[in-house]
Amino acid sequence: MLVVDGLDAGYGDLQVLHNVDLQVDEGEYVAIVGPNGAGKSTVMKSVFGLTTYMGGRIEFQGREISGLRPEDIITHGIGYVPQNDNIFSSLSVRENLEMGAYILDEVPEDAIAEVFNRFPILEERQDQTVGSMSGGQQQMVAMGRALMLDPDLLLLDEPSAGLAPDLVEDMFDRVDAINDDDTAVLIVEQNAKEALRRCDRGYVLVQGENRYEDDGDALLADEQVRRDFLGG
C-alpha cells in the first residue's frame, strides 16, 4: 500500500535520509526503531511532504504522492500524529477533534463519540483548552485527532512517549485494535521491545539508512539488534 523506494530527503541543504526503502502492506502493522537522530521522524515527515524531497519515490495505493501537499495527502487516507507539537494548544479538546475532520463537510459526531469512548477523560474535559492539559492527555488528543478520518494508514511518531504505563498498554492495545479494523499502521517507537513484539514487521533505521528489516519477533531475537538498539 505504502511503498517508499530509494528515498533521499532532508532539511534544506542537509540530507538526512539516504536511499531508504520501506513498505507497508494493506492492514499491516510496521514499526521503525533506531537510535536518536536516525531519521525515523524524518521518514514520516517525508511521507507527509514536510521535508525537502531529494530523490526516490513514495507511492500510496499505487499512486505517487511524493511532492503532494499535506492537505492532499490526507485525503488519500493517511493520518499522522507527529512526535512534537501535535495538538492545537489554544483550542478546546472538542475543537481539536473537529479539526481532525476538517475536510469533511459535516462534523462526524459518531467519530467524536468513538474517540471519547476510547479516552473518557477527553469527554470530561472536552471544553478545556488542550494546552493546559498534561502531556499524556495531550497525547490522547493528538491520537484522537488523527483517528477522526478513519484513515487507511496511520503514522504514529512515538505515541507512547510520556504516557503512563496503563496508558502505554492501552495505547498499544488501541493501536492493535485500530490495526485489526484494517487500518495499516506505521509506528516509530523508542519503546522498541513492545513495538516489535506487537508489529508484523520492523525496520531498524541507522544514520538515515535501512540497517535491518525483518518480522518483529525475528528482530527481537536478533542478538546484534538487541545489543545495539534495544538496550540488551
Partner: protein, 362 residues
C-alpha cells in the same frame, strides 16, 4: 504568612490603577458639582470619546484578527485603512460625481483642486447609491491589495517568525503609503459634504443625530458582532484559530492553510477597508497619513484588549478614545495622547496578556 491578603505586586498595581481611575472619576463629579466643568462639555468629551473609540476599535478588529491568525503585528494595517478610504471615496466620486466635474479630478479626489465635495454634492441622502457602492469598492480594493501583498510578500515568508514579518510589513506600509502619495498627492481634502442630521422630538437628549456618525457607529457594531459570530461558531473560524495555533499541524490535519490564510485576508482586509471608508464618512476629511496616524492607537487598542479578541479590540479602542478625550478635563490637549499611551502601558504592566487576553473570543 496569610494567603488572602498576600497580593502579588501586579495585583497591588492593578488596585492602584483602579484607585487612580476612581479618584479621577470622583474629581470629575466634584468638578461637575462645583461648576468647574460644564455638563455639556463633559457630554461632548464622552460622546466624542465613544465615537473616536469606535473608530479606533473598528479599525482594530481587522488588525486583531490578522495578528492572531497570521501571527504578526502588521504595521501596514494603517495604510490598508488608508487604501480602503481612498479607493472607496474615489469610487463615490467617480460614480456620484458623474458630469459634475471632469474625470481627472474625480479619479484623484480633487488632487488638482478644480472641484469639491460640495460641487459633487456627496452625502448620504444625495448619493445613497454611490455611498453604498463606495463601501463595497473600498472592501474589494482593500482585499485585492491585501491579497496581492500576501502573494508577493508574506506568502514567501510563511515560515519566518513574527518579527521578520513585522519588519516586512513596515516595508509594505512605506510602499503603500507613498504609492498613494504618488497617485493622489499629499494634500488633505474634504471628500464628503457635512453630514445631514435628523431632528425628531423623540430624540430628546440631543439637538440632532448626525447621520454619517450614526451610520459609522451602527455599521461598526454590526460588523463586529457579525465577525464574532463568524469566527466563534463556524468551522472556518475554528480553522483560523487552529492555524493561529500551530500551522504545521494544521497542514498535517488537512486544513487547507493557504485557503484559510486567503479567507483571513479577505475578511480582515475587507473589514479594514470598510473601516477606513466609514471613518472618512464620519471624519469627512482624508489624507495619505489618515491610517498611519491611527496605527499606534489601533495597536494600543488591540494590545489593551488582548490579541485575537474582538470584544477586546473594541474595549481597547473605547478606553483609548475615552482617555484621549476625557483627559482634557485635567491636562492640556497636547498631552492627552501621552495619557492614552501611558494608560496602555500601565494596564499592560498588570495584565501583560491584555484585558481579554487568554480568552480568545475570536
Amino acid at each position: 504568612m496569610g494567603d488572602v491578603t498576600d497580593f502579588t505586586w501586579e495585583q497591588w498595581f492593578g488596585v492602584l490603577l483602579l484607585a487612580g481611575v476612581g479618584v479621577l472619576i470622583l474629581d470629575l463629579l466634584r468638578r461637575l458639582a462645583v461648576g468647574d466643568l460644564g455638563a455639556s462639555t463633559l457630554t461632548t468629551f464622552l460622546w466624542r470619546g465613544l465615537v473616536d473609540g469606535l473608530i479606533v476599535g473598528l479599525a482594530a478588529v481587522g488588525l486583531s484578527m490578522t495578528y492572531s491568525i497570521l501571527r504578526f503585528a502588521n504595521f501596514s494595517h494603517g495604510d490598508l485603512v488608508t487604501t480602503g478610504a481612498f479607493s472607496g471615496w474615489t469610487a463615490v466620486w467617480v460614480i456620484g460625481g458623474l458630469g459634475a466635474a471632469d474625470l481627472g479630478s474625480r479619479l484623484l479626489l480633487n488632487a488638482d483642486r478644480s472641484t469639491s465635495a460640495r460641487a459633487l454634492d456627496v452625502h448620504v441622502y444625495a448619493e445613497p447609491l454611490a455611498i453604498v457602492a463606495g463601501l463595497v469598492i473600498a472592501a474589494l480594493v482593500t482585499i485585492l491589495v491585501a491579497l496581492a501583498i500576501d502573494r508577493l510578500v508574506y506568502r514567501r515568508m510563511r515560515d519566518s517568525g513574527g518579527i521578520p514579518l513585522l519588519i516586512a510589513s513596515v516595508g509594505v506600509a512605506l510602499v503603500l503609503r507613498y504609492l498613494i502619495v504618488f497617485l493622489y498627492g499629499e494634500r488633505t481634502r474634504g471628500v464628503v459634504r457635512s453630514s445631514p442630521s435628523i431632528d425628531h422630538p423623540l430624540l430628546f437628549w440631543t439637538d440632532g443625530v448626525v447621520v454619517h456618525e450614526l451610520i459609522m457607529v451602527g455599521s461598526a457594531v454590526v460588523l463586529m458582532v457579525g465577525l464574532h459570530v463568524l469566527l466563534q461558531y463556524t468551522k472556518l473560524g475554528t480553522a483560523m484559530r487552529a492555524m493561529a495555533d500551530n500551522r504545521d499541524l494544521a497542514l498535517i490535519t488537512g486544513i487547507p492553510t493557504e485557503r484559510v490564510i486567503l479567507a483571513t485576508w479577505v475578511i480582515g482586509a475587507g473589514l479594514t477597508g470598510v473601516a477606513g471608508y466609514l471613518i472618512v464618512l464620519e471624519q469627512e476629511t482624508l489624507n495619505f497619513n489618515t491610517g498611519w496616524f491611527l496605527l499606534l492607537l489601533i495597536f494600543a487598542a488591540v494590545i489593551l484588549g488582548g490579541i485575537g479578541s474582538i470584544y477586546g479590540a473594541i474595549t481597547g479602542g473605547l478606553i483609548i478614545g475615552l482617555a484621549d478625550n476625557v483627559m482634557l478635563v485635567w491636562i492640556s490637549g497636547d498631552l492627552t495622547r501621552v495619557a492614552a499611551f501611558m494608560l496602555m502601558i500601565l494596564i499592560l504592566i498588570f495584565r501583560p496578556q491584555g484585558l481579554f487576553g487568554g480568552v480568545e473570543t475570536a
